[in-house]
């Protein structure tokens, strides 16, 4: 635990070194969010009844996604870890008296948290200040808010669990760029980050909700605006928990095996 907190702290200070990147991120997120809300406003102006979500639900979805952008991008992997695996510096990680899975897990958690901490403030500020249909409104009630919080925490842990799989696969294939780009794009689409999942064809939606990717973005954002209620809410939280256990459990087990087979090359 002490080691994990230490790693979290290290990754946090590490990311704070990159201030310019943070400002650029904020500008992009705000601008993009603004463009997209305008786009949906135009769609809804033609026929609001034709859409599966209300306009405020959509704008909430967009702004939450923009604010937490850096948290949920699957391909925002820690390049240092991949380099370590490829060039053999991972040896230095193996000689530490810690569980490497959890060390890298907290390391990623730290870097993602720090990125979001630097970026989400200004995005939220803009989103809350914008007038009614464009901005971010509060969740309809406390139950929804707590369901969102729970869902959000699980989503954070799940995205890191998925990210860990990229590192684990890199132990087996030296060049992981290919895996990253194929899985990255598919995962991004299935997470509902490009298009909210309720807008997708019905059959497709069913599949998307069963896969772990939607659990990382679409589910918590839909939770926030009260899209789910009652049984649906509980069901979705259940599916999230299921994937959380599967992804992290299997990742931890496979990584243990990978480390026994690792070949540290060079020098």
């Amino acid at each position: 635990m002490r080691a994990a907190l230490g790693m979290l702290r290290m990754r946090f200070i590490y990311s704070l070194q990159y201030r310019a990147a943070a400002w650029a991120g904020v500008m992009t997120q705000v601008f993009w969010g603004f463009m997209e809300t305008l786009l949906y406003k135009a769609f809804y102006a033609s026929n609001a009844a034709a859409f599966p979500m209300t306009l405020p639900q959509v704008t909430c979805y967009i702004w939450l996604r923009q604010a937490f952008f850096a948290m949920f991008i699957l391909w925002s992997v820690d390049g240092d870890i991949l380099d370590m695996i490829i060039n053999g510096n991972v040896g230095y990680e193996i000689i530490r008296p810690t569980d490497l899975y959890w060390m890298w897990f907290t390391r990623n958690l730290g870097s993602r948290l720090s990125k979001v901490a630097l970026r989400c403030g200004p995005v939220f500020l803009v989103a809350f200040l914008l007038p009614a249909p464009f901005g971010l409104s509060l969740p309809p009630n406390w139950v929804t808010f707590f369901a969102f919080l729970l869902s959000f925490v699980m989503a954070v842990l799940l995205i890191i669990g998925l990210c860990m799989w990229i590192y684990i696969l890199s132990f087996y294939t030296i060049a992981s760029r290919g895996v990253q780009s194929i899985v990255g794009l598919t995962a991004e689409f299935l997470s509902g980050s490009l298009l909210p999942i309720p807008f997708m064809p019905e059959g497709f939606q069913k599949v998307a909700y069963l896969l772990p990717f939607a659990q990382t973005q679409a589910v918590p954002y839909l939770m926030y605006s009260g899209y789910y209620s009652g049984r649906e809410m509980v069901m979705n939280l259940g599916v999230q928990l299921f994937w959380l256990i599967v992804v992290i459990g299997s990742g931890h087990a496979v990584m243990k095996r990978a480390l026994l087979k690792v070949t540290v090359q060079g020098g």
């Binding site: 200070i13 070194q17 040896g91 230095y92 008296p97 026994l260 020098g267």
Partner: protein, 265 residues
């Protein structure tokens, strides 16, 4: 106490001829050969010894260190360090050892050295007072005072190597593995590193296993050397006895060359 017996380790190596045709063929069929990195390796090292592993590039020195430090799992054979098998009881084992790979870095590149050290303190769960005392001592002996607040990327190689060594010793290991610690260093830095290693061994009785291509390192530090070639131990003995075998006035460099020739490695 380190006891190694009949250790074997081989690696797969893929080979192909040059050119387009061979590359295309390689898509379907890869020619695979096994390279024996370690062959029936046996030796034992007592507490407080300084042992130099020598041998040409690719002889298996680094592989030996990686097995001893628990990074690589050998194909067969036994290895016990202070009663533990490194790759089976990894967590307990690595608390007892420090490792410096001269060609790699364990310091975080963009933040001041002290942040990397603080993280190691947490990783090894070193009590605060213990840590401060060790850090103070290392700072004095390795002259790190001005370096601690500088990011690793802005240090010279010599400065960085001193920090790397300090980083490996924060948890006061009983055994220190040094894989080419003086590689690329200037004369002054080399001397500083050597003096420090010697002092560490004398004052704390730390067991030191060193690989190096620098014969001066050997002369200055080690009493016993292990000559490794093609994965096998070819010679295990005292450095002095070895020098006596050769005519008077031979330099260490010439002696090593003669050794490599004698064993055809």
């Amino acid at each position: 106490m380190i006891e190694v017996s009949h250790l074997n380790k081989s690696f797969k190596v893929y080979r192909r001829d040059a050119g387009m045709k061979a590359a295309f063929k390689g898509l379907f069929h890869r020619e695979q050969t096994r390279v024996e990195a370690l062959k029936d390796l046996s030796f034992s090292i007592q507490d407080g010894e300084i042992v130099g592993l020598i041998g040409p590039n690719g002889a298996g020195k680094s592989t030996t260190i990686k097995v001893l430090s628990g990074i690589l799992v050998p194909d067969s054979g036994e290895c016990k360090i202070n009663g533990r098998v490194p790759w089976k009881e990894r967590k307990a084992h690595v608390r007892d050892i420090g490792v410096v790979f001269g060609q790699r870095s364990q310091l975080w590149w963009d933040v001041p050295i002290i942040d990397s050290f603080d993280l190691l303190k947490e990783i090894y769960k070193i009590p605060e007072e213990r840590y401060q005392a060790t850090l103070h001592e290392l700072t004095e002996t390795l002259e790190l005072e001005d370096l601690l607040r500088t990011p690793a990327r802005q240090l010279s190689l010599g400065q960085r190597m001193r920090c790397e060594i300090a980083a490996s010793l924060l948890h006061e290991p009983k055994i220190l593995f040094l894989d080419e610690p003086t590689i690329g260093l200037d004369a002054v830095s080399k001397l500083a590193v050597r003096d420090f290693i010697k002092k560490l061994n004398e004052e704390k009785n730390t067991t030191i296993i060193l690989t190096t291509h620098d014969t001066q390192d050997l002369m200055a530090l080690t009493k016993r050397i292990l000559l490794i070639g093609k994965g096998e131990i070819l010679l295990d003995g005292s450095l002095e006895a070895l020098i006596d075998r050769y005519p008077e006035g031979i330099t260490a460099e010439e002696m090593v060359v003669a050794l490599y020739k004698e064993y055809k490695i």
